[in-house]
Amino acid sequence: MIQGRFFDARTSAPQPARIDIGADRILRLVAQREVRQAPLEAVGISDRIGEVPRRVTFEDGAMFETPENDAVDAALDIAGHGGFARRLDRWERFWGVALAALGAVALLSWALVRFGVPPLADAVARAMPRSVDVSIGAQGLELLDETLLEPTQLPEPRQAALRGRLRTMTETAGDGHDYRLEFRRGKRVGPNAFALPSGIIVITDELVGLAQRDEEIEAVLAHEVGHVRGRHSLRILLQNAGVAALALAVLGDVGTASSLAAAVPVMLVQAKHSRDFEREADAYSRQWLRGQGLPESHFDDMMCRLAKDDADLAYLSSHPPLEERASC
């Protein structure tokens, strides 16, 4: 016998009531003003969640509500009415299970982000037509021009000479990218270089000014070519989208306050991947120098000069530590 209150789905007036679930799987209800009976299959019995009141809902919406969760469970056990929800409730009772779940969540999220997202993003990147790169590249340059960069003040012949150097460097690459060298004044970003998808490479006047030999500029160009060849910006974009989607799926139910917390792993992962890509581009630059029979010291010299010039290390912030990249 389980005591509770009955609501007839017509008014909000409660009626004291009790139910009985027999081994014959028939539920009998005796309320103040009515008596009902129904087979267990024909009523909805809410899953147990903590000590939230349990409800038995009849087909017409009438409802019996009781705080006696244990009695309901016992009756259901006798009638052989179990299910996944019962197991869930048991798990939710124990701190040990909660802590184990916490550890598993941390481990699984890390594994997904580390080993799941990058290959997936790379597969998507491979499937993307080159026209996507071109579109993103053009939009990216427009955005940079609007926000950070200003028109170049480098004399035309100097520009042409450097463009020639990039052309010689990439002619033999045969990677299907349409390389183009753009010059801009960096001002706030100082000596800097950017690689956009589709092969647009931007270097700032300040960087050209900082270099003592053209081979040093070539080392930087080769680094950026490395980014373009690996389609790094597109892959970063896709990986970020993947991690964000994952964070949303996992934490979406948690609430808005934690979206801030969700941003932290996204940022960490992003920094990690971008450092991996920098290493790859550095390696490409060194390899190119070696291939040309040039000393790798051109790369080191340029890196060290960049680091020295840029007190805030703006250029290096998303990059691996300098000691690891170049020997000064």
């Binding site: 809410s46 124990f94 999220s109 979406g252 139910d253």
Partner: protein, 356 residues
């Protein structure tokens, strides 16, 4: 004649029914973490079931006059709705990434769509909620939502936000006065002046706080610099930290003040037949909750969040009650509305929480 007929009975004394909230942070945390694990293991599919379990816990832990609220959302429908939402959002994100200019087309479309989203999601939320076996309902339609959300929004912007309180008032009014419990409609009778009052008080508080902050900043940086030459790097860092701390403190105070005033004003104006909702959140308690919750969430890398939410909700319900003559036993169920399947699916996919 006997004196038992309602017409001749002495007017019933005004009664206050308190809300009760029995959820605990620990219990909610355990539900949340098990949900999270199953969601990850099923690559997100379980999230619909997780949502239902989480909301059933929160609704079921909230009771009025001895009866708990009930959430009726169905996981499969929610899953379907979420897939639609993900597709729409994905298309939008993709379009704006590839062609940033397309936002100029998509944004107006979104603004026109927004009232529809409000109507559908509110309708869904209300229909999925019941108390004592009586379902809530929402009867607002697109034109009303368009006026409350878009037209009054434009008025607020055009008047340089001087009339922003009126926009808030219209939005709350639209949501509340179109909501029903069974056959009984809610009414919204809050005083407009109260909305203007707390809006301008918040603006004043914010201005005053930042003026004080700027003044202090000026005094200290002046003091640091005047001793000998430019201030030292350490002094600047200290000053910067103090400034950031000041800004955070001010936003917590202003945020708590705004939330307290808005919630009180909105809920206090809600009526249901002879009953009236009351809400008396106190500034000191709310600010204390804000500060401790923020610290807790930061210090535990977000793990404190379930406790923070439960503490906030518990305090909210502690401050609320239903007051009035007459009994809460006389609400009648409305005929079940005939909703189109597509409408339901759209409502579920846009099941966003607009609150009040």
């Amino acid at each position: 004649m006997t004196d038992s007929s309602p017409a001749t009975a002495a007017p019933a004394a005004t009664r206050t029914h308190a809300f009760e909230f029995r959820a605990t942070g620990g219990e909610y945390f355990r539900i949340w973490i098990v949900n999270l694990l199953l969601t990850i293991l099923t690559l997100g599919i379980y999230s619909a079931w997780a949502k239902v379990r989480r909301l059933r816990y929160l609704y079921g832990s909230t009771s009025l006059a001895g009866s708990a609220f009930e959430y009726h959302g169905e996981p499969l429908k929610i899953l379907k709705g979420r897939l639609i939402a993900v597709a729409v959002f994905g298309a939008y994100a993709f379009a704006t990434q590839l062609w940033p200019k397309s936002i100029f087309v998509l944004l107006p479309a979104l603004i026109l769509l927004m009232p529809l989203v409000v109507v559908f999601s509110r309708r869904f939320q209300m229909r999925m909620t019941s108390w004592r076996g009586i379902r809530f309902g929402f009867h607002g339609e697109y034109p009303g939502a368009f006026v409350a959300y878009v037209v009054w929004g434009i008025v607020a912007v055009v008047t340089l936000y001087l009339l922003l309180p009126l926009w808030l008032y219209k939005r709350v009014g639209f949501l509340v006065s179109n909501t029903s419990l069974g056959t009984e409609r809610f009414s919204f009778t809050a005083w407009r002046g109260r909305f203007f009052g707390f809006y301008y008080a918040t603006l004043g508080l914010m201005t005053a706080a930042f003026l004080v902050l700027a003044l202090l900043g000026g005094v200290f940086s002046g003091a640091a610099g005047s001793q000998d030459g430019p201030p030292s790097a350490a002094a600047m860092v200290g000053l910067g930290t103090a400034f950031v701390a000041g800004v955070i403190a001010v936003s917590l105070v202003v945020g708590a003040f705004w939330e307290r005033s808005f919630t009180n004003a909105a809920y206090d104006g809600i009526g249901l037949g002879p009953h009236r909702l009351t809400c008396r959140i106190r500034m000191g308690r709310l600010l204390w909750l804000y500060v401790t919750n923020v610290l807790g969430v930061l210090l535990t890398l977000g793990l404190f969040y379930p406790w923070a939410l439960i503490r906030r909700l518990r305090y909210q319900f502690e401050c609320m009650g239903v007051e009035g003559a007459g009994s809460l036993d006389e609400f009648a169920a409305a005929a079940a509305p005939q909703a189109s399947a597509t409408g339901e699916a759209i409502g579920e996919s846009f099941d966003l929480d607009f609150g009040l």
